[in-house]
């Protein structure tokens, strides 16, 4: 099978090629005068990675901004018409609104719940097991998570045996079964719950590591001074790990803005659950409209830029502190 052969070539060939490239670079450098060689070497070491970054990230981002000013087939300049579509079309406005809901609720719930899990598990002897259980969904694809939760949310008319776990619970305590993924606006929250299930463990693991970094003497001193556990948490623990909370929060914000797989698999944006990333996919593949699709992508990028600058700034500060 040629496919297998190709994969084998890629797996074995890439290390060989990199090794060969390294020695080739050394050879070239050795031909040059010592000073020039030293100046050129770093650039040659970065060349393969730079080529990939430019071709897959830098160039396409610029090109997408350009394409967003052209029509569906990228043949006629249309100015800001595609952006006008993004900000006036009812469907797109719904998607923007839903992303805002995702941004606020997904971020808040995962970070707070992650913190709760980190703090609680810190005090029990079976910490590793409990954290592992909450963290486990991180290893699973959103597609699989989508199937898992579609099954959880499964709906049968009242009277029929409910096979969905959630509706079985709801009917057991005497309520009507709900079509969780159809009833707007609650269906968006049902999708957010799936993302919360997947990402809480991520937040918990990072925050838990930060908690363990707090010197125990500090907590002991606060206890000796008669502070209650809640006071300690609020005025000692939270300020000390605020940097990590910020990191986790920005990561969650980025995910909320880019949310795609869960929506694509579970509702495909129907019943008012559309989000930006899925709307972009539809414009690109279902309607073949490069202009609109590019404009949606640019809107997404612009929303992420502040987070990006924040990240770079924080990283710089961290580097200078070293």
């Amino acid at each position: 099978m040629s496919r297998l052969l190709l994969a084998f070539v890629a797996v074995a060939g890439v290390p060989l090629a990199t090794a060969g490239y390294a020695w080739l670079v050394e050879l070239v450098v050795s031909w040059l005068p010592a000073r020039t060689g030293r100046a050129v070497r770093p650039w040659l070491w970065m060349l393969p990675a730079s080529a990939f970054l430019v071709f897959f990230l830098v160039y396409p981002t610029i090109e997408t901004i350009v394409l967003s000013l052209y029509d569906a087939t990228s043949s006629r300049f249309v100015g800001l018409a595609n952006y006008a579509f993004v900000f006036t079309d009812p469907g797109m406005l719904g998607a923007l609104r839903n992303n805002l809901i995702w941004l606020v609720f997904f971020t808040l719930v995962t970070v707070i719940l992650g913190l709760v899990v980190a703090v609680l598990t810190d005090r029990v002897p079976y910490e590793a097991v409990a954290k592992g259980i909450v963290f486990l969904p991180m290893a699973v694809s959103f597609v699989a998570a989508g199937v898992i939760w579609k099954f959880m949310y499964d709906y049968r008319p009242p009277g029929a045996a409910q096979t969905g776990t959630l509706n079985a619970g709801v009917t057991a305590v005497g309520f009507e079964p709900q079509a969780w993924l159809i009833n707007s606006p609650w269906n968006t929250f049902a999708l957010i719950a799936v993302a919360v299930w997947t990402w809480t463990g991520f937040c918990a693991v990072i925050l838990s590591a930060a908690l363990k970094g707090i010197p125990p003497e500090l907590l002991e001193a606060a206890r000796v001074d008669g502070a209650s556990e809640w006071q300690i948490f609020r005025s000692v623990v939270v300020p000390l790990i605020s940097g990590t909370i910020a990191v986790v929060t920005t990561t969650m914000i980025i995910f909320a803005l880019k949310a795609f797989d869960i929506v694509y698999v579970m509702t495909n944006g129907n019943y008012n659950t559309e989000v930006i990333a899925n709307a972009m996919y539809k414009e690109l593949f279902n309607y073949r409209d490069f202009g609109r699709s590019a404009a949606i992508a640019v809107v997404l990028l612009v929303a992420i830029v502040p987070v990006m600058l924040l990240n770079v700034g924080r990283f710089r500060a961290q580097e200078e502190a070293r």
Binding site: A39, V117, F151
Partner: protein, 297 residues
């Protein structure tokens, strides 16, 4: 009071205190156990349902499987693996993931070494750019790259998706490895330099072997990210069934099977097998990668 009596009394006080402590910690324990159960139930439901016969799945909840008659079957797995092309998709997922894991790591290690241990003008600015690229949404890159791939006739091929995942995985890989390399002791490099070792020798003989933990974390990350990816596969493989990895096949099954839960659950579980195996055997590396990857405050 004799010393023995005192000891008994002290022990009694201690037991009582321990009991009181246990009682006061009951809310804590119940909260942790409740959260763990809540997090396990969805996956458990999936796993149980994938082993139940179709008639049972459609007529009763998965929790009733633990009552008689204990009707379990492997038929769902046989069915999705053969009739619904999950076996082919499993192989496709492997074919997509393994090269797409090896390629970015080596290329990134190269650049990361230059960033960490070579001096050149604009080094910091370039590295800040990489940190910035970490969060660029894939969505902004899809259309132009797809156009180039289509022109080159690469769209729908494995090569296209390997290259794409390499490009997308690089910022994180460079970031993680550069931070790890930069933390290696300076003496190590100086003594190698005195011995007359060339940069490639230092890189392959010294840096890579001492960085195995970081490389392992990164490999696990990239493997899971590619294995679980849907968007990149949808775009560059174009949904063709013969090259579709499992994520694409399952999302198609969700549309075509609708309520065929016994099949969907089996298919989803097959796709989770390898990630779960990695998760349980290499969790510490996975966690280490996550901790190193977040820009720490």
């Amino acid at each position: 009071m004799t010393t023995r009596g005192a000891a008994v009394a002290a022990a009694r006080v201690q037991t009582r205190r321990r009991a009181a402590e246990l009682w006061s910690r009951l809310p804590l324990h119940s909260a942790v156990v409740l959260i763990s159960l809540l997090w396990m139930v969805p996956t458990l439901g999936l796993l149980v349902s994938s082993f139940r016969p179709p008639a049972a799945v459609t007529s009763s909840g998965w929790w009733t499987a633990f009552e008689p008659p204990f009707a379990f079957t492997l038929e769902n797995y046989r069915s999705v693996l053969t009739t619904y092309n999950m076996w082919g998709s499993f192989l496709n997922s492997l074919l997509v993931t393994i090269p797409a894991t090896v390629m970015p790591i080596l290329i990134a290690a190269f650049a990361a070494y230059a960033f960490a241990w070579m001096r050149f003008p604009g080094r910091n600015l370039l590295f800040f750019t990489v940190v910035g690229l970490l969060v660029v949404p894939l969505q902004t890159t899809l259309i132009p790259v797809l156009k180039v791939f289509t022109t080159l006739g690469l769209s729908g091929t494995f090569l296209a998706i390997w290259l794409a995942h390499t490009g997308y995985g690089l910022p994180f890989a460079i970031y993680l490895l550069r931070n790890f390399f930069a933390a290696l002791p300076r003496d190590m490099f100086e003594s190698a330099h005195i011995d007359g070792a060339s940069p490639p020798t230092v890189f392959f003989r010294l840096v890579l072997p001492t960085s195995v933990p970081a490389l392992a974390s990164l490999a696990i990350f990239q493997f899971l990210w590619v294995w679980n990816d849907l968007l990149v596969a949808l775009i560059y493989l174009g949904g063709r069934p013969d090259v579709a990895p499992m994520t694409v096949t399952i999302s198609n099954l969700v549309n075509s099977l609708g309520q065929g839960w016994q099949l969907l659950t089996a298919a989803a579980f097959i796709s989770m097998l390898l990630p779960l195996l990695i998760f349980f055997s290499l969790q510490q590396y996975f966690v280490r990668g996550i901790l190193a990857g977040s820009v720490k405050g």
